[in-house]
């Protein structure tokens, strides 16, 4: 549904000329398609041609202790990554202005 809304939104916003919303709609399409795949194959994580040998969430998960440690580090890591990406995209925010002195790195 998200993917359908996204792909419809891309054309709608492109026609309207709203570049930002068109891009966000495209993000929704990609997000929708990828999550559809995940939900589509669940509870398998890697389906096999012979369904007996498919790797499922339960058969591939690590031990509880490992999962807990992983979650703790993931929270820490994802905050760092999110902060880094916020900083980078803020630094290059807005349209790129090309002139004789710049190399296209924004204002």
């Amino acid at each position: 549904m998200l993917a359908v809304a996204g792909i419809t939104g891309v054309l709608f916003e492109l026609r309207k000329g709203d570049e930002r919303k068109a891009f966000l709609a495209s993000c929704a399409y990609l997000g929708g398609m990828l999550t559809s795949v995940v939900f589509g194959v669940y509870p398998m994580v890697l389906p096999a041609r012979n369904p007996l040998y498919s790797l499922t969430v339960t058969s591939t998960k690590a031990a509880d202790y490992g999962l807990k440690i992983g979650l703790a580090w993931w929270i820490f890591g994802i905050i760092l990554a999110a902060g880094y990406f916020t900083y980078v995209y803020r630094s290059f925010a807005g349209k790129v202005v090309i002139d004789k002195d710049s190399h296209g790195y924004g204002d």
Binding site: V10, V37, A48, S54
Partner: protein, 171 residues
């Protein structure tokens, strides 16, 4: 004669790609994009104008980027279609066997290639919209036009791949 012709084709191929890249990045107004395109060509840094773009690197950059998008999509197609896992939980797949969806599959078959082409078009549309959002003038117009064209391919292939996926899973 044949040799020269062959060499010409090889030389012409990167040039054709270079011209497309330059069209997207630098070229003058093609009549349908914003009126300030001529001004934006003047604003291209001199270093870029003088140096031009090396056709061989242009070709390699474009071809490898396109192939990367296709292979990412094909990898996702493999996950959806299923891989030949055995009882030990391992599998080996050749790059391709006969491009068919039989008992023995390769990484590339008609289904995974189709998913790969869909991924390439979706990323082309996405990238076009990003470039459109980040630029102004002629580049902005061309990127939007490219995204608009890719959109039709994305819609058609999304519908086709979705229908085929349901069919494959039913089997």
């Amino acid at each position: 004669m044949a040799d020269r012709r062959r060499r010409n084709i090889v030389l012409r191929l990167p040039r054709a790609v270079r011209e497309r890249v330059q069209w997207l990045l630098f070229a003058a107004d093609d009549g349908s994009v914003a009126a300030d395109s001529a001004r934006s060509v003047d604003r291209i840094p001199e270093s870029h104008q003088e140096r031009g773009l090396d056709p061989l690197w242009d070709f390699l950059f474009c071809a490898s980027s396109l192939l990367l998008a296709i292979f990412f999509g094909a990898a996702l197609g493999n996950v959806v279609r299923g891989v030949p896992l055995d009882a030990s939980g391992y599998f080996f797949e050749p790059l391709w066997i006969n491009f068919r969806l039989g008992d023995e599959t390769g990484i590339l078959d008609w289904y995974t290639i189709l998913v790969g082409v869909l991924a390439m078009l979706a990323l082309m549309m996405h990238g076009g919209l990003w470039v459109q959002m980040k630029t102004s003038g002629a580049v902005n117009g061309r990127a939007g036009k490219l995204a608009g064209r890719a959109w039709w391919g994305v819609v058609a292939l999304t519908a086709l791949v979705t229908a085929l996926t349901f069919q494959i899973h039913r089997k």
